[in-house]
Amino acid sequence: MDLRFGDSKPTDEERAAVDALLGPPESAWEGADDRTDTDLRWARGGREARERRELLLPGLHALNDRVGWISEGGLDYLCRRLTVPPAEGYGVATFYAMFAVKPRPATVVHVCTDLACAAGGSAQVCAELERDVGPAGSAGSGAAWQPSPCLGLCERAPAALAIRAGETPQTAVVAPATAGAVADAASAPHEAAAEPPAAAAVPQACTDGLVLLRRVGVVDPGSLDDYRAHGGYAALRRAFALGPAGVIREVTEAGLVGRGGAAFPTGRKWSATAQQPDHPHYLVCNADESEPGTFKDRVLMEGDPYALIEAMTVAGYATGAHRGYLYLRGEYPRALRRLRTAIDRARSRGFLGKDVMGQGFAFDIEIRRGAGAYICGEETAIFNSIEGQRGEPRSKPPFPVEKGLFGKPTAVNNVETLVNVLPILIEGAPAYARTGTGTSTGTKLFCVSGTVARPGVYELPFGATLRELLELAGPPEALRAVLLGGAAGGFVRPDELDVPLTFEGTRAAGTTLGSGVVLVLDEGVELPRILLRIAEFFRDESCGQCVPCRVGTVRQEEALHRLKDRTGAAAAGDIALLREVGQAMRDASICGLGQTAWNAVESAIDRLGAFK
């Protein structure tokens, strides 16, 4: 590799930010200012330096957190330290929505304009901000605001997140947001009112019969002792008693399937990973919850962080992984703080590290922070993102269990999936499988938002109907439709509320549970506007790698723009066009993003009679 760096130099601040992450440079070869005699004799770097490429994303965060944007000098310095070609560093930096490579103020407020927030009045917040602060992206009063995809705060819509760069970066969550509160948070993020506890997002909190949410609102999320007092680490103890194969057997017999949307049997995934002869094995926890309308993983991580740490340890033990990466979306500052604390405390008490619980099993967890890219929730895009590449999905085969993170066998599981492993081990597979239906066992978390009286995360046994769920949440008087499964899911009509909330039941009804989104829309909603937002979302979030998705999502959005005020015969041509493009996106895209980008729009046309 023959790298060439330009003349731009980092500022002292940028240099300090990068050095705080990587340590001071050892030689001129990796960015030190002065050459030593040995630098002239030996070239350093090479493979050893290239293997640190995975620190590129943390390095970009370090620069962005410190200065608020990533300058040429800062990026070049980081690339030099890691032996990353600057063109590739630039390609990665420009991939993520939360990074900027052009100067901007230290404070940026992300105002969510996605589905639940749009239904909750985000348009008005944006309009007022435009009037008081200036247009999106402009730097009025030292802070810029910008519209943002779903921030995962749907139960408190509309929501905003203020981030101020500095030596100690500050964040403030404003939800529900008004333009005034957003402006206040932008000018003084440290003075913003504290967020309500995670349990406030769980209307069922502290009621009997909860499995996954049973500790949320009960346990102190900062205290390891409190977690143990509430049954924590009993599952890991049982796992050690069963041995790795025994754990996989329990998980398989329990019938656990993935809760991230794809519903793949977890036991099969673990067993396939565990059996791979190639080593090391890795575990990746997918906490990049970016599906519009989804916030269950956030509530779990904020309300019961040790449960995820324990579940990851069990998963690592079962699959033979000694290292777990927790890939957390960049928009979740409180979950990040709580998980960091939990991991540190677990490590200092011997629940993570070289000898977990004195059982001779080494396992540790590293948090990797995303930077605003929905696609990084795709299981192979996560690998690229962690490795310091652009978060583009890989084509499969080979599948992650064979060649995943760093080309090694990897099990990727969603947060909710992992947390299910705890009750499986504590109660045993047969007891767990008694809840739910034959092929959908256990309980499921649903993220109810939109026009309901009590939005939030609900836990119900599989098999409960959509009507029962809505009754809990307080449905609107004039229900128009329910978006099930999120932007990649499908709409359900008011006369279809008896659909059982199971994987097979929703499939039979022509929709999907997806990641558990239940977005409730009343008669007041402008359906074409919601569809347009869904199309915008996919156009924004397409990674751009394959043609059907890169251009198809643009054509879909254009057609929906044209259709906004049209119905009947005037709409027929564009609907036919949408169907043709949608079919090609579904058939020929590389990954699930492009393959599902037309689901919700199609179901709105076919089942709700949109544009009729």
Partner: protein, 290 residues
Amino acid sequence: MTAIPLRPPRRLVDLTLDGEPVRAPEGSTLLDACRAAGKDVPTLCQGDTLTPKNACRVCVVEVEGARTLAPACSRRVEQGMEVRTDTERARHSRKVVLELLASSTDMSTTPRAAEWIEEYGAEPERFGADAARVDEEPKVDNDLYVRDYDKCILCYKCVDACGEQWQNTFAIAVAGRGFDARISTEHDVPLTDSACVYCGNCIEVCPTGALSFKTEFDMREAGTWDEAAQTETTTVCAYCGVGCNLTLHVQENEIVKVTSPHDNPVTHGNLCIKGRFGYQHVQNHAQNRD
């Protein structure tokens, strides 16, 4: 005589292509199998000297039992696979992909594009006059070659050729995301300020003419580019002792561009700046001097 490297024998796997049983060496792709069977599956981002990125999705085929279509260029043959290359579904995707490409980029210099657009009945104009286009001005920032990203389909071949697959210079990468993704130098600087070493191997692999010799670009602008009138002569580069093959493209007794045979075991189509661009001395005729 060109030396042909012999590979160790490979196991053959049995599969069916459009119902016909065929055998293909283990590890080969569906596209290899299709070509061996005489089937013409269209493809843009596949290149004979590079690992395909399977980004263009023009070569999709239907594999029995798979939920989605598979890119023939990179899916490996498997024992017992049943593949259909010309189904309604595969043809539909190819048609739409060609429409999406031709409606957003300029495909006028993409070999075979017009032929495939006709064959698949693609109508790029049906997205309307307001359909978003890449809309880039040609980047003319040096005397050797031009980057006209209005013609770029983001196949990643130039990035792979510049990077780890051949040149190891890493002067370009994909920057941005989605429809705004572009091939870019670091910080989007002009080529002259970038890490580019002007080997031109990116031009060699570009499937659409988005990267072209300055000579070709200028002649196309002037309307004097005439491929039919050109002759191609393969010779040996005289600059050093490596022995790279050069193919000189000559029009009206002037070298208009230089390529290199991809099946050459020394270069695999790659050259350095001298071989690729250093041909002026050959035609430094008296009448051209001041």
